[in-house]
Symmetry: C2
Subunit: 197 residues, 2 copies
């Protein structure tokens, strides 16, 4: 019953996480009925981000800059490295406010079934970075899910062969939970209680 362009808008909104047919329809009509300005801004922001956002040449987080703001920050201790799955995890740990080292962002976890191996996670780049920055301590803060633990184990084996301290973020983080939803205090405790691997 909707015209082709409205149908296409509804369909394409379905790519957003948690958006089903009914909310996609509601969103499309809302934007067209009374939020042209917001929709215009969203279309431009999407296009811009798609065209320009890539990965930090150092930590591989998402950014349109060649190096992200944390990697550019001279005050941060480059010899301590926290390894996380996603940019949202960086934000979560930063909000805990107790870690002053740098990050490495895997943008995923090992998942052979989805074709995600060490190469897709940039683990060769990680090893080079560890050597280049003379990293002394690596804290692995992948999620406490099955895949996150497997990824942790794989990375730990790689890094321990380099004679650096490798630790796992403490399980103050609830098992099965996703890092980005844990509160700052729990994360601060989890960082403090890390165990050598």
């Amino acid at each position: 019953m909707f015209s082709p362009l409205i149908k296409e808008l509804i369909e394409s909104l379905r790519c957003l996480p948690g958006v089903g047919p009914k909310s996609a329809q509601k969103m499309a009509l809302y934007l067209l009925e009374r939020e042209h300005q917001g929709a215009d801004r969203l279309a431009s922001a999407l296009r811009n981000a798609l065209d320009k956002v890539g990965r930090c040449s150092s930590c591989r987080t998402l950014t349109e800059e060649s190096e992200c703001s944390i990697c550019r920050d001279e005050e941060r201790d480059a010899t301590r490295l926290c390894i996380v799955e996603t940019p949202a995890d960086v934000i979560a740990i930063e909000s805990a406010g107790t870690f002053d080292g740098r990050y490495f962002v895997l943008l995923g976890h090992l998942s052979p079934i989805d074709g995600i191996g060490p190469e897709e996670l940039g683990l060769e780049h990680l090893e080079k970075m560890v050597e280049y920055n003379q990293v002394e301590e690596a804290i692995i803060a992948t999620n406490s899910t099955v895949e996150g633990e497997a990824t942790c184990h794989y990375i730990a084996e790689k890094l321990k062969s380099k004679n650096i301290n490798v630790s796992r973020i403490a399980h103050g983080v609830p098992m099965g939970g996703e890092l980005e939803y844990v509160d700052g205090n729990t994360l601060a405790l989890a960082l403090e209680g890390r165990k050598k691997l």
Copy 2:
């Protein structure tokens, strides 16, 4: 902590109904981490819809065509007119499957506080259309909210002066509810039980 373009994407996603800061962040990272194709499609669909979707020259529903598919359909009875608030309401009534007339879409309701008066709802256009199509019966199916009832009352007074049958969709529709969320059967009953005003 996010780069400017990612921040801007997160901010601009907030214009979507029901999307708070946390889901906007989740959506933005999801799109950039693993849904480039969907994001690209969404950016284009938004841009296209914004550039091209306007209003049907006849019923004023949202469409990029000069006349919408219902108004173009010769099989539909132009002498019977159902007046609704939004395009979603047209879809809801069509799904009931018992109405074979045409629609007039207000795209809102009278709301002096928001500066929405008879002109914004196209009520002059409605009167012309009623005359032009020699409408014999108008069914007012605005929402059963305070604003919807006030809008109904205003339109009914205008149309009754033209010597046509003006009715209100029956209140099988739950009071205070929004039309687009009512099931087809209830809507079919509500249409059948309409009362002359």
